[in-house]
Symmetry: C2
């Protein structure tokens, strides 16, 4: 027997739950391995990983401009053969220019950058934020991170003063938040989103969760908003954003706005917390000056879909200077975000513009991805509408649908006999029958007595959707 066992390691790490890559995901990888080795006869010939927003695993092609620039950053020797690049490989002049500019500013993508990122890239992000919101942004308050997850990790580390430190987290939520709060031994204060209002924020629900936690002695200090929502896809109205800021201002809560799906919006438009906060500050001089906002973005989602590059950033507004210095020190311990990922952030926030040589192809690719996502979301939604006991709101944004399922009592009993939650049971049977891997609603949290699952709509084609429909009918027939 060695020193470590499951009972004497860090209990907070042990307690953390992270269903997106949990039992079902592991099982799906086993099935994939069996298929590729031909060692099992399975009722499907392909595993569809609809459990995780990983576009390029599901054949989404990267955007050409981005990858051409990155290829030059990885091998700057190519810049010595500009004629071959342009005439032999079809690289446009703006690709070459951007690569030179990025290399001038980061030196080499193989060198550590400053802990908070390459300064010129932070300036580029600030300009993007100014264009997006119509208000200035300060590069000194921008921190590059290894995807948004690493930014969330940093911010929650700072916030977690003691086990009583509480963070309001939407339910259902992306489990990064609960898992990290568990690791930090801080308190998650859940608030329910309103399924009847397309999973919008419900200020009364927020307030009552807040008051209840406060009365139990929790020092609630932050509210997390995921907009557009994960797993729900909900896209908040400007009024909803204003209401949250107003509440946070009154109760002195740091706002953590997870805005990684800001370009995945099908209905209405995206309202950034930063933009709305600045408007509120303009309309009400002095009133909202103390609001502390951290907003996060990433190259993993949107039409970029570059998850594997681990690029992202967060912007801080209204933070105390000594707190920012502590954040800087904390990110220094891990040295810096991957520099090639930082460069990809720069390309995302500063893409080719009309009239520039790479614009036409960029625009075509970008819109092709956007339209493909919308079409697949609608096709999947239509299929759900026709399934017995399944209810699902219209697709609004992000990369997910999160339907409610109503299962027969016999299915719930069968689940209990296996020691599983009913939605876990359903998702496991779905995986075994169809090869489609989705995540049970219990992995994100859901109101007692309700059942859901989350699926991405990233997989190409519609054949896999009909696999789900067929399975569902057989499942309902079996347990009715």
């Amino acid at each position: 027997m060695g020193r470590l066992n499951i009972n004497n390691i860090n209990p907070h790490v042990r307690a953390a739950e992270y269903a997106v890559r949990g039992e079902l995901a592991v099982k799906s990888e086993e099935l994939r391995a069996q298929l590729s080795k031909g060692t099992a006869s399975l009722p499907f010939d392909q595993v569809i990983s609809a459990n995780i927003g990983n576009p390029q695993q599901l054949d989404q092609k990267p955007i050409t401009f981005f990858r051409q620039v990155l290829s030059l950053l990885e091998n700057p020797q190519l810049l010595e053969k500009e004629d071959v690049l342009i005439n032999g490989l079809g690289y446009k002049t703006d690709v070459v220019e951007r690569a030179k500019w990025l290399l001038k500013n980061c030196g080499s993508v193989g060198a550590y950058s400053a802990s908070s990122g390459v300064y010129a890239i932070k300036e580029s992000i600030a300009k993007f934020l100014e264009r997006r919101d119509g208000f200035p942004a300060n590069p000194a308050n921008i921190y590059l991170s290894a995807g948004a997850s690493s930014g969330v990790n940093t911010l929650l580390h700072i916030l977690a003063e003691s086990p009583k430190s509480g963070v309001l987290v939407p339910i259902p939520q992306y489990p990064l938040y609960t898992a990290t709060l568990s690791v930090l031994n801080a308190t998650c204060v859940p608030y329910y989103l309103d399924e009847s209002k397309a999973w919008g924020t419900d200020l009364e629900a927020i307030r009552s969760s807040y008051e209840k936690a406060k009365s139990e002695g929790v020092d609630v200090r932050c509210i997390v908003i995921i907009n557009p929502g994960n797993p729900t896809g909900a896209s908040l109205s400007e009024a909803d954003v204003r209401a949250v800021i107003d509440f946070a201002s009154k109760e002195k809560l740091v706002i953590m706005a997870d805005e990684v799906y800001q370009t995945n919006v099908f209905i209405g438009q995206f309202h950034s917390f930063k933009g709305v906060l600045r408007k509120l500050q303009q309309e009400n001089p002095g009133k909202y000056d103390d609001v502390e906002l951290a907003s996060l973005h990433s190259v993993s989602k949107g039409m970029v879909g570059e998850c594997g590059h681990r690029g992202g950033y967060f912007e801080l507004v209204g933070f105390d200077a000594e707190v920012e210095a502590t954040i800087y020190k904390f990110v220094s311990i891990m040295l810096c975000a991957p520099v090639i990922g930082q460069c990809l952030v720069e390309l995302m926030v500063n893409p080719p513009q009309p009239g520039e040589p790479s614009f036409e192809l960029y625009d075509k690719e970008y819109n092709g991805i956007a339209n493909g996502l919308r079409e697949r979301a609608n096709a999947l939604h239509k299929a759900f509408e026709q399934m017995e006991g399944v209810e699902c709101g219209e697709p609004q944004g992000a990369m997910y649908l999160f339907p409610t399922i109503t299962l027969p009592q016999k299915a719930i009993d069968a689940a209990a006999a296996e020691g599983r939650k009913p939605d876990e049971f359903y998702c496991m049977r779905l995986l075994e029958a169809t090869g489609v891997c989705v995540v049970p609603g219990s992995g994100f949290g859901q109101r007692e007595g309700t059942l859901h699952f989350r699926t991405t709509f990233l997989a190409p084609g519609t054949e896999w959707v009909s696999r789900i429909t067929k399975f569902h009918q057989e499942f309902m027939d079996k347990y009715r």
Copy 2:
């Protein structure tokens, strides 16, 4: 006033110290900015960042084979124009083949991989370990990480059961260890390295630190060894490695072997903990079967020097299966290590072999870097030997020299008047006078009453060395 201030954030993050990127590093960046803007008249025209092992910032060229492959991974469309690649750009066929093989196995570098890394890359690492050590390695026990730092962070998270959980850390040490233990609110149990024996491990010092901590109620559960050493450059003999394993086995301590400098060895040869452990197990059947070893490696150091790519891995030996499952879950929360960095790990552990098209250039570049490092280490060492009050052992390994400095009392008094430690004072004056940024020994820990500083020997040329020599003479004259 907002919610957060320096007194109510996480006290463990506040308490963490990380001098490698501390006050001196920040000051050096300010000076660099002043130089590039021409806003100040300074007594030097270039800042030399000798505070951090960041080879490519100091003009070390990346290895061509690595970067050619990475350029194809970033832009796989180039593979459709193989004739242009080969005839127009001079890419060899093994570059093209390796890129195809990596793409086949990771799909796209823009897709998340499995949480512990791309399986084929783990297999490649296992083969490298087998060749290096002469004993088998299991890819299932290998975890890709974002540099070795992220691996250390993972392992310390698992180990930190309570504030009483103790980890033996060498002093002087790379401050990642003390900083992370501080963030985790676990106990650092320092043990001194023996400067009189070229900074080797001193088993008596380890034992006495261990016994003292145990008697104070600390649950000492792990020993960290940095070999070759950082900041000391020490390279351990096989006998030293055996002695540490034997001690760890007797006291049931997990061994964390930070071996990121394993190819930076000037004197003798590198002895991996894994290889020596397997030998001990072979020689003493049954006796060392319970030893738990985690060994870490990285693309940031060695002749690779690709810090900005954040690539690394750790291998676990003898860990409990449930503990490994918890490690897998923990790394899942951050999704995966950067995939392009994972591919670079593969290239590092599986470089071109004699007879292969890219071998000749690879070999020339690799040896050129190795010889350059050795020459600069010796030149710097020679300069230190001639400086008054400076003592420095022969360069053995890693990227650093860590000389002892003896300062006049008047300098120590002047430091105290400024509220600084004497070595901080010395390093600040050095930076202001010469633009050379080094790290005071107090940032790594040193025996009471001794003073040191750490400098890399990465900067090209020797002009900067003569700047140090000149400054030192003037400093000593002023305070003598």
